[in-house]
Amino acid sequence: MMTMSGSAKISLKNVSKSFGNKTVLNNLSLDIAEGESVVVIGGSGTGKSVMLKCILGLLEPEAGEIFIEGQQLVGARPSVREKALRKTGMLFQYAALFDSLPVWENVAFGLIQAHGMERGAAKHIAIEKLALVGLGADMAHQSPAELSIGMQKRVGLARAIATDPEIIFFDEPTTGLDPIMGDVIDNLIRDCTKHLGASTLTISHDMESAQKIADKIALIYKGSVVWIGPADEIDHCGNPYVEQFVRGDINGPIELDILKP
């Protein structure tokens, strides 16, 4: 069982992943320290979601190593991976709530299934977590399909923090939300993660959201990290890739997969 030393909560070392001839992750390396919030930004198709799926074990990289709390996960047995994932929470882009279960069971799912908690106790905690994200106990018995996308995201956030995880992943947390609801979600993410002291990895296109929730921001381009630095330095970092991305300019070193007019 391979482990690594060092203080990084999550560590990716030279991770590569291809689909056919298309290389999506190209020797990508990234470290996230304990209690640190890192936001990964980048254009569509640059490998952000693939990176997250590789960390979560949903995709297997062809090369490289991924460590969670020093535990190597690439090629690890399913039981090792499941044990590592018990320390994590995840908010999906469209919440990915189980529509066959009521809201409270969605939130309590990890407590019941992964931690073996009794259903009554898990329901009690689920209602507490729903309150943390601003949802009342009356929501507990509703079906996810009855909720707005903003409410679904909040339930997804409650599910992500239900087990008090040490690591939380956020996949495009503000996508599809109006600016006010996006701000609500950003504040909830910041408050919840500070409250838990968790390390977080967020994928986002939204620069405003990224600056609000990040300690560090990393820019991915063509499957590699081309810049990483403190969130407050992003506006004057001098990196041409970052500057183009922040400005939203079509001209610059970032090549787009579109035909120029």
Binding site: L56, L58, L85, R86, F92, A96, G110, Q113, F169
Partner: protein, 258 residues
């Protein structure tokens, strides 16, 4: 031109082999999680209700009218050589050995196989299966194993009920419209019926139940491409279940006749 033709055949053959390999691995994983703990009893009971109890009306109707029409048709044929007394025996053997398991299998494939593929397919394209993984829950164990086990257990039960209803349908037609004596018909039904007639039908039903739920889970699990992908998975689940039921029926019959 000739080269392109060979390349096309090669591509199809490779694709077929890839699919067979993929399905084999899926089947091994699924059955591994049926026998290894933890077991999700609540989900298993839910599937027993969905696959078994809620399929009773459709299986019952199918069996009833199959038994009725079988009695009529066999009467027409057997009366041509004065063998009307064989109607009860042929109805019960035809139903228990062949028609009840196959027709129940086809009806359940249409109802349950499609529903499983649509539900799991939607879970796949909306990232709910990924969410299961992130919540340290094995999707084979949580989604696939309870459905396959429930399918293998409930379909024989449905077929047993179908046998009884089908024979009753034949009895009704024979006594009410073909003029058979009630006690004579019942005597002929049971005199020549052997336990292995019923048991072979139940064995077939269990295999069909496993195939239907396996196909539903497999196609749902591997669906992609949004609503269109889920629709394709549903169609593939039903069509492949139908074909596998009919093919395996022949081989099971050969095997069980030995």
């Amino acid at each position: 031109m000739e080269w392109n033709f060979l390349a096309a055949i090669g591509r199809v053959a490779l694709q077929f082999m890839r699919s067979v390999g993929h399905l084999s691995l899926f089947t091994v994983q699924s059955f591994k999680h049926i026998v290894l703990p933890p077991f999700y009893l609540r989900l298993f009971l839910k599937q027993l209700m969905f696959i078994g109890y809620y399929s009773l009306p459709v299986v019952g109707m199918t069996a009833l009218f199959t038994g009725m029409v079988l009695a009529l048709q066999i009467y027409v044929g057997s009366s041509r050589f004065n063998a009307e007394s064989a109607v009860a025996t042929i109805v019960v053997i035809g139903l228990t050995r062949e028609l009840a398991p196959v027709l129940s299998g086809l009806m359940v494939a249409g109802r349950v196989g499609a529903a499983i593929a649509a539900e799991i397919g939607t879970m796949r394209v909306t990232e709910q299966i990924d969410a299961l993984v992130t919540l340290s829950t094995n999707p084979y164990k949580y989604l696939v194993a309870p459905r396959i086990l429930a399918g293998m257990i409930t379909l024989p039960m449905l077929v047993l009920v179908g046998d009884i209803i089908g024979v009753s349908g034949g009895y009704l037609v024979a006594t009410e419209s073909l003029g058979f004596n009630a006690s004579g018909y019942i005597k002929n039904t049971f005199d020549y019926l052997e336990a292995r007639d019923v048991i072979s039908g139940l064995i077939k039903a269990s295999v069909f139940g496993g195939l239907i739920t396996l196909m539903g889970c497999y196609h749902g699990f591997n669906s992609s491409g949004g609503a269109q992908g889920v629709g394709r998975a549903t169609t593939n689940a039903v069509v492949s279940s139908f074909i596998l039921i009919l093919i395996s029926d022949y081989f099971l019959t050969v095997l069980l006749l030995k």
